[in-house]
Amino acid sequence: MTTFLKALARSVAAAALLVSAAHADEPVKGGTLITTLPQTPRHLNPAVQSGIVTGAPGAQLFAAPLRYDEDWTPQPYLAESWAWSDDGLSMTLNLVQDARFHDGEPITSEDVAFSVETIKANHPFKTMFGVVETVETPDEHTAVLKLSQPHPALLLAMSSQLMPIIPKHIYGDGQDPKSHPRNGQDVVGSGPFKFVEFTPDQQVILERNDDFFIEGRPYLDRIVYRIIKDAAARSIGMENGELHMTTFENTVRNIKRMSENDSLNVTDEGYAAIGPINWLAFNTGQDGPLADKRVRQAIAYALDKDFILNAIMLGLSQEAKTGIHPGSPLYFPDVNGYDLDLDKANALLDEAGYPKDANGIRFALTIDHGNPTTKPQAEFTKASLAKIGIDVSVNSFVDFPTWANKISNHDFDMTWDTVFNWGDPVIGVHRTYDSQNIKEGVIWSNTQQYANPKIDELMNAAGQEIDPAKRAELYREFQEILAEDLPVYWTNTLPYHTIYSKKVGNPPLGIWASSSPYDLVYLKDE
């Protein structure tokens, strides 16, 4: 993070403190928080299902070893303490005493071992626990994760979204955990709230776990997640007071309108770990202009990023200059940001050997978009690139599978996309640039077919570097080289916002947003 951003963050935090001090707020017990989910989750068990709509209720139902607030320092949760071995090859977790699952069974190191094994075998993010060889359980409250290589990403992987502690006595009954009947009904977890009801397309209802292992918490009696797919309906619900809070809002017009409402707080804090980034991806693997990095750079120079940030995103999203989210401590902003420069763009294309023909056209490309929210960017790209003699035609796809099928089979020139960091770069960043991860048919693999041995080497080293300073240095170089090679052109973060009424105390503004435990959230007395 730059010093400026840091200072900004600090002043925002200070302001927030002042505001809360002015109200002299003491958390109050009781009340039902009405919040939202933008889609129906397949089920509520994040151990075998990624995604934010499972992660949000999942983080209430299940506790994880660690938790995070707005800075990136891990804090004790179900693990009172944790320690790396000197060689970085094992991680020892000391669990809190007397923690119990919702059915009264004690939470032991056996459950931790079982959870890690289940996640490792069933979760799509294989890089999270792939290097965990075994989990030893010397006693009931100690779990030792043995690794085949040092793996600093483990720290972020041990948070609620990615490592829920699930009860072995329920999910270890031999049924396939991915389709276990208790994933969506009668869920028994370890977190601050207990399962009451899950009705697809209607609501998820959770109630206070009186036996939660942190004394005196949670504050809320109930949480109702109303499943409302229409963004306009959610914003009207916020404005008329029917909803207390909504998270992951990203339609800029609605956010703008809600931010003009005095009874609502609107913030983009809390999405750094999930880390969504919009980018223009290039198919670098096919013969043709895009295989040449000068062409890719020229395209970047021809796109006015300010237009995207201010006109399309209405100033609600941050500039992203690399594949690591600007909110991450590993983000390195001092790379080439490709500010608008048509002369440079034209010069690069001439140099690459693509002169303009009689009609002023150099060559033609296609641009695909599958997500309707990136349609303006696609149209804007077409208009911008016409200025430097690239004739772009836009293909829109109404449904996700059609688009995903085309992109993942490398049948495209360019596409606008949104990809998530998911905490540590090892989990959500490497996959885009790793030459080993060029896999046909797998969306959000290295669909650009980008291969650079130096980048592979840097990722390998950074993935194993326990020392944070050295690790940041490796990622600095990684970001510099990528900004030069430009397999994708990063433009901005997705404008995710949390909107909450003034009644809500301690809204989830930590790095994992709504995928963090709501044990501190409360509703103020009127």
């Binding site: 129906t40 990624s50 969506g184 397309d201 229409d230 404005e239 797998v442």
Partner: protein, 325 residues
């Protein structure tokens, strides 16, 4: 009995139609690139090739399409609609969970549109070139022309936000405890806006048709006779003319059932109404073939039943149809 014969014949056609619907839909869905595994992978925020291949094998998606189709039809003939890939539950269970909400919405919107459409039509026919008649036409055509999701959002802004009379989403207030009556009241409260929205498309059709039909009837000899007998104008219109003007409107209403159901998809999404429409949208976007096919199957069924009901109603209001058998 002639009616029974017609009924049996109708049911025979219906079964053939349903099988055609299945085959056609199955083929069309399989023609589109991508499948449910792509969506599941995306839903998980990315996946790896092994996992995707494993899921494809589990669902039998690695089999040739013709084999998949054969086994699907075979199962449907045994009244088994299969298992939803996406929800991991039997499709019949999913559909029966959602069907009541959709039926409630579709039938209430249909009845609302019919009643209001007929009233407006009758009213407009009294003075077909008067300003009020034009106003009715204008209003009705506006409802017909406006995209239904837009009408929905507009009603939300008006009656949920500016004048907060109705809730913004859902089918009932989860915080309401209590027996059948308070629950039913809550559902009715939530039903108003979606019903108005969905009904608004059809008011134009019904009122225009009713107006035309009324004008024709009002000009006929027997109405003139009725007037000449000195009957009150209201009785002439309501008792003599309307009875004969209604059958075309009811016939049209029956034909519109499929349109009402497709309109419900959008309305349900705007108002988070937990019916088949929302299930359809989710499963189409997820390429959840068994669920999509199941829903189309049931929609076809609802349309067929709706048409049969229309027939029955026509028999009630028009003795000539009864006579024909």
């Amino acid at each position: 009995m002639a009616f029974l014969k017609v009924l049996v014949q109708r049911i025979g056609y219906a079964v053939l139609l349903l099988i055609a619907v299945l085959v056609l839909n199955f083929t069309m869905i399989n023609l589109a690139p991508g499948d449910v595994v792509d969506t599941i992978a995306a839903d998980m925020g990315g996946a790896n090739a092994e996992l995707m291949a494993q899921i494809r094998a589990e669902y039998g998606l690695d089999q040739p399409v013709i084999v998949q189709l054969g086994s699907y039809i075979g199962r449907v003939l045994q009244f088994d609609l299969g298992y939803s890939y996406f929800y991991n539950r039997p499709v019949t269970e999913l559909i029966f969970e959602r069907l009541p909400a959709t039926l409630l919405l579709v039938f209430s919107a249909q009845i609302f549109a019919l009643v209001l459409g007929i009233l407006l039509g009758v009213f407009a026919a009294q003075n077909p070139n008067g300003p009020l008649s034009h106003l009715v036409t204008l209003f009705a055509l506006f409802g017909y022309a406006a995209p239904v999701f837009w009408t929905g959002i507009l009603l939300l802004i008006a009656f949920s936000l500016k004048i907060p009379l109705f809730p913004v989403a859902g089918m009932r207030d989860v915080t309401i405890e209590g027996g059948f009556f308070p629950q039913a009241l809550s559902v009715a409260h939530h039903l108003v806006l979606p019903m108005l929205t969905l009904g608004s498309i059809f008011i134009a059709l019904y009122s225009r048709l009713c107006r035309a039909s009324m004008l024709e009837v009002l000009g006929s000899d027997y109405v003139r006779t009725a007037k000449a007998k000195g009957l009150r104008p209201r009785d002439v219109v309501m008792k003599h003319a309307l009875k004969n003007a209604l059958p075309p409107v009811v016939t049209l209403a029956g034909l519109q059932f499929s349109a009402v159901i497709s309109g419900a998809v959008l309305v349900e999404t705007v108002f988070s109404w937990p019916g088949l429409g929302q299930l359809a949208l989710t499963s189409i976007l997820a390429r959840d073939t068994p669920t999509i096919l199941g829903i189309l199957f049931f929609s076809a069924l609802v349309v067929i039943v709706g048409n049969l009901l229309t027939d029955l109603v026509l028999r009630m209001i028009d003795p000539r149809v009864r006579g024909r058998g």
